[in-house]
């Protein structure tokens, strides 16, 4: 999966905006939105929020977790624990990136948030690499991956799955007579 496709899925999350225009309720296929009144906060999907923001038709209210203090706590917890801690949003990385790229003027302390989220991400990816390493070296057949986000899974997917398949191929060829040995996918 391409990471832009993960971002595409992240854009379905809702975010609060404060519009500066008025518009009746919209009946989209995926659900109703609005009505929009100037100054009144309303929930919209991120793709629409970003579009409206780029046309300077709204102000985006950052999600509650996008806050320096909360993120600092998270970072400490993430560094302390050996396992993956629960994340505030299943698309925290993508949302941070999207909102900070297009609406950094609506988000207080944008630079600090960017650094914090990056720190959390780096810590988690380091853990992910470690667990992938032990998964492979112990020849495990099953792993539980709670609290991992789609983007995190996606960064390791191609490499991990291909290596597992290769190793499986090599191993099944080592055991002569096993019916699983007929690997033809190359």
């Amino acid at each position: 999966m391409d990471s832009s496709e993960v971002e595409f899925l992240a854009e379905k999350e809702t975010v609060k905006i404060i519009p500066n225009f008025s518009l009746d309720r919209i009946y989209l296929i995926g659900g109703d939105l609005g009505p929009f009144n100037p100054g009144l906060p309303v929930d919209v999907p991120v793709w629409l929020a970003l579009n409206l923001k780029q046309r300077q038709k709204c102000r985006i209210v950052p999600p509650a977790w996008m806050d320096v203090e909360k993120l600092e706590e998270m970072r400490e917890l993430e560094r302390k624990e050996d396992t993956f801690t629960p994340v505030p949003s299943p698309y925290y990385m993508e949302l941070t990136k999207l909102l900070l790229n297009y609406a950094s003027d609506n988000i207080p302390k944008a630079d600090e948030i960017r650094t914090l989220v990056k720190d959390i991400w780096d810590t988690r990816i380091a853990k992910l690499r470690l667990s992938a390493d032990s998964f492979i070296s112990q020849l495990e057949a099953h792993a539980k991956l709670d609290n991992l986000t789609l983007m995190e899974i996606n960064t390791i997917r191609a490499f991990l799955l291909d290596s597992l398949n290769c190793m499986y191929k090599l191993r099944s060829n080592l055991q002569p007579g096993s019916s699983k040995g007929q690997f033809t996918d190359y």
Binding site: M1, R25, L28, I29, D32, A141, L145, R157, D185
Partner: protein, 224 residues
Amino acid sequence: MSDALSDAGSDVNQDDAQEDVMTPAELIAKLEEAWLNEKFSPELLENKSEVVECVMEQLSHMDANLQRVKKGDAKASIHRMEIDRIRFVLSSYLRSRLRKIEKFFPHVLEREKSRGEGDPSLLSPEEFAFAKEYYANTETYLKAVALKRMPPNLQTVDMLKAVPEPCLDSFVFLRVKDRQENILVEPETDDQREYVVDLEEGSQHLMRYRTIAPLVSSGAVQLI
């Protein structure tokens, strides 16, 4: 102008009440589920032509309504964006199916042939036509470039043996939607023992596709 669009919305909502009552939003969710499952499963999954057809209907309905709207209308542009997003998912879904059909065509056709009378078909009628044509074209091509110059006893190719089978032993990532108990995990090596795991609702796992393939088609797990 905005009347046309509000109408569009309510029409669409009623339209869908047909057979099994599903809101358009649920329909789109179904399509996205099918899209991700198809993207990540090593083999071709059962076709979801009702979902595809319903979505196409919704899209053309909305398209038709948008035709009646003046250019530059704020609502229309939002509707267009939504349509584009849905269309992207739809075509990506259909494309990933075609890619698998091209990759595994003899096996896909074989499975379709051996399927029982009442079983749901793997391919939609269009996909079936595509697979057959692809098979015929590949065969003709092989004949034209090489086979007819071979000695007579080597002039046939068994497509089923020539084309690799989908590798059901690949690992997949999945999220559990309905709790499952006692899923058997086969050992990786001979000196390991097999064991069972319970899949809790909402949990995520990495395991071999073969073990959980029935759960994917029943919708109890979602590949991610």
